[in-house]
Assembly symmetry: C2
Homo-oligomer: 116 residues x 2
Amino acid sequence: MKESVSGCHVEDAIRVLGGRWRIVLVYSLLDGPKRFNELRREMPKISQRMLTLDLRALEAAGLVFRTIYPEVPVRVVYELTQAGHALRPLVEILGDVGESLQHLAPSPVRNGAVAG
Amino acid sequence: MKESVSGCHVEDAIRVLGGRWRIVLVYSLLDGPKRFNELRREMPKISQRMLTLDLRALEAAGLVFRTIYPEVPVRVVYELTQAGHALRPLVEILGDVGESLQHLAPSPVRNGAVAG
DNA sequence: CGGAATCCTCAGCGATACTG
DNA sequence: CAGTATCGCTGAGGATTCCG
């Protein structure tokens, strides 16, 4: 009962996964659970603040699961939920797209045509 | 010579396709060429300004082609390039993801666990 | 009709400092 | 180690007006 693609749903996905870091974060978690500072090391350009905020957002969306091990010092592990792992195709395709877009820079025909 | 997914490429794709409207715009153009005000009607919540800016950006990225018919009044038609049509899988998956995220709202187990 | 120009707002994000 | 708390910026995006 859905037409093949719903614009509304596309906007929904963007609302949850939009922003500079969330998808990259999911990508980083695709190969297994990681600790907070482990993620920071893999994403050197993200601020601590945004890492926290985006992890919380993904958690609230049901895409990331957080486990606290109350040791000293405390250890916190983030991992994708099943729904989170379901994003793998999206991330992979996005990676492919990003790659193709590079080569595209020298545009083929030069855009902008006047007809008539 | 790429590992299956490159975080770098993912960021590149986000740079080009990020923002609230660009992907939706591509989605809207997937079923054929459209005129400016036709796009506005299909995306009632986008401002005229952003529609212009995002169309220009997609044009510069080689994803959208623009044709001007110098009639009176002028007619301008936007359509996806081949590279633009190559985004179809991405948009479709994003639509599916958006749909699943809805049902996900009542989270399965309740996130946030304390182990140990 | 399909814009361009201008002005303005706000939220996304970064930097820094502090804490259990 | 894994955060929270503030502050400040900047740029994405909206509203409005004008134009060929």
